[in-house]
Amino acid sequence: MITNRKYLVGVFDDEHTLKDAFQKALDKGVVIEEVYTPYPIHEILHGMKNKTNITTAAFFYGLFAVVMLIGGMYYAAVVDWPLHFGGKPFNTFPSFIVVTIVATILTITILTLFTFSARAKIFPGKKEEIIDIRATDDKFIILLDQDKMGIDKPEVTKLFQANGASEVYEKESN
């Protein structure tokens, strides 16, 4: 993040108070920047409307891998360098399949990893952006961007505290 952004951080002790506050904030039209939880929570995933298309991408990587692998093996074994193995035909299709299955899994895994990394902007040696170190342990964090949260600061602070936030504080990122 290049520009300085001012955040409002709500800290919650457990899942239930977090879900309550999250739902009430959504109902009031608060724009929530991000929620950090120690484990995935369905209601949060639905509420944030973060739909992922990575499964579709993975399917097409798989399709690509299958075509390339079978095509490549066919080219090597039949077109470019046909060899006789004990009376077998050049196109030993059933024996290509084993290689195809294994290498397709590998291709999907690696390409999906790269896609995810690119999409989430993470790379080796990246400096971590931790809003609140306790979110990596057992606390639940709701993060609001003060410039575009769509509600006044005191009001949202009150909302969070009324719904069981153990702490609400401001933070600037750099």
Binding site: H42, T55, F59, G86, G87, K88, T92, P94, S95, I97, V98
Partner: protein, 389 residues
């Protein structure tokens, strides 16, 4: 939980329809025995095996749910129980096969051990008395275990408490080993020994997976039908997704086993193994080879993969019906070349299938109507009713 009281009342009209189907089946069988005994016995074996493998697959499914302590499926456990209640009926049919042994199994021909060295070698295992001893033993074990689990399940309805759940889990652990060992041997007896000169290490395991796949498929179909006529009101998309996962996973395993068996035989190229596929590579059987793979693996794999389609009855029901056809073509592909020697398909086949289908449906609906469709005191019932992910 009074709202969960859910009893199936089978309408007389539906019963009459099933009696009609059984009648069609009887007429087809009798006509078959008069016109073409080979075909009739092949039909008899195919449909017998078809429905007993579904029943065994369902029993296995039920046992797995107990062992895994699966919550989501506990409301539907009466369906596998009801399907397993077909096993005693199938036992009678398999014993009646005694009269068709010489038509179906050519290892049972008199004097064949004197001219055929391999069959003489296999004679201590493949002989008629021992064959029927095994049939009695396997069916005896299955019936005892299925009855036991059903009895505990009904007792749980009446008495409640955790003890019945623990008992079910304990006996299920025994049951899966019984099924795994006995059903693989059963598949060797009934299907693989049609070609007694053939060798394959994976055939029995593949048959077992096919039974589990098609058992899970029919469970799903019955649950969807019951939901459609107004039972199982709590059935939601999450339940459907879990059923789809079973079908999806098992069809992949089926495809894997089917391919592994074929690949090894194709690559090894030993005459005593390849003969099986060579004799099934011409005409209609050559088409069926690919039809099996498309119906049992490719279509479920492709259509149940996306989240949207695997939670929708609109997609699941056609896939299930294609899988039912897939099981038929698979067995047809095994049995017909060995017994009838050519691909004959007509009214006899359809009629016999309808007859067995009617009988199966009659037994299943009869058992379903005897107890509450939703078990009453299952510890995971609440979890199943509000299943959501």
């Amino acid at each position: 939980m009074n709202t969960m009281e859910d009893k199936l009342i089978v309408p007389q009209k539906f019963k009459n329809l099933l009696y009609g189907l059984i009648g069609i089946g009887l007429i087809s069988m009798v006509a078959g025995f008069i016109l073409d005994p080979h075909r009739a016995w092949a039909n008899y074996l195919l449909n017998n095996y078809y429905f007993v493998s579904i029943a065994i697959g369902a029993a296995f499914f039920g046992a797995i749910q107990y062992i895994a302590q699966a919550g989501w499926s506990s409301a539907f456990k009466r369906v596998p129980e009801a399907m397993a209640s077909y096993i005693p009926v199938a036992a009678v049919f398999f014993l009646l096969m005694y009269f068709g042994m010489h038509t179906i199994f050519h290892w049972s021909h008199e004097g064949i051990t004197e001219t055929d060295v391999l069959l003489a070698h296999k004679a201590p295992y493949l002989n008629i008395p021992f064959f029927f001893l095994r049939v009695i033993l396997f069916f005896g074990l299955w019936i005892v275990m299925v009855r036991l689990l059903r009895k505990i399940s009904l007792k749980e309805d009446a008495e409640g408490g955790m003890q019945h759940f623990y008992d079910s889990e304990k006996y299920s652990k025994v049951f899966i080993f019984i099924i795994a060992i006995s059903f693989t041997l059963f598949a060797i007896d009934m299907i693989m020994s049609l070609d007694p000169h053939w060798f394959s290490g994976l055939f029995a395991a593949k048959s077992f997976i096919a039974a589990f796949l098609h058992g899970a498929t029919i469970i799903t179909l019955i649950v969807i039908i019951l939901h459609k006529i107004g039972h199982y009101k709590m059935l939601n998309r999450s339940h459907l997704h879990d059923f789809s996962r079973y079908i999806f996973m098992l069809s992949i395993v089926w495809g894997y086993f089917n391919f592994a068996e074929f690949m090894i035989i194709w690559y090894g190229n030993l005459p005593e193994e390849t003969i099986y596929y060579v004799s099934r590579s011409h005409g209609a059987f050559g088409v069926l080879f690919y039809a099996n793979i498309i119906l049992n693996w490719f279509i479920p794999f492709l259509f149940l993969m996306p989240r949207m389609t695997s939670r929708s009855k609109l997609f699941m029901v056609p896939v299930i019906i294609l899988l039912m056809i897939g099981q038929y073509t698979e067995l047809y592909y095994y049995i017909w070349p060995a017994v009838v020697h050519e691909a004959k398909f007509g009214i006899l086949e359809v009629g016999t299938y309808l007859g067995f289908l009617g009988l199966f449906a009659l037994v299943v609906t009869n058992t379903l109507s005897k107890a509450s469709l939703v078990p009453k005191n299952h510890p995971y019932l609440e979890e199943s009713v509000y299943h959501q992910f």
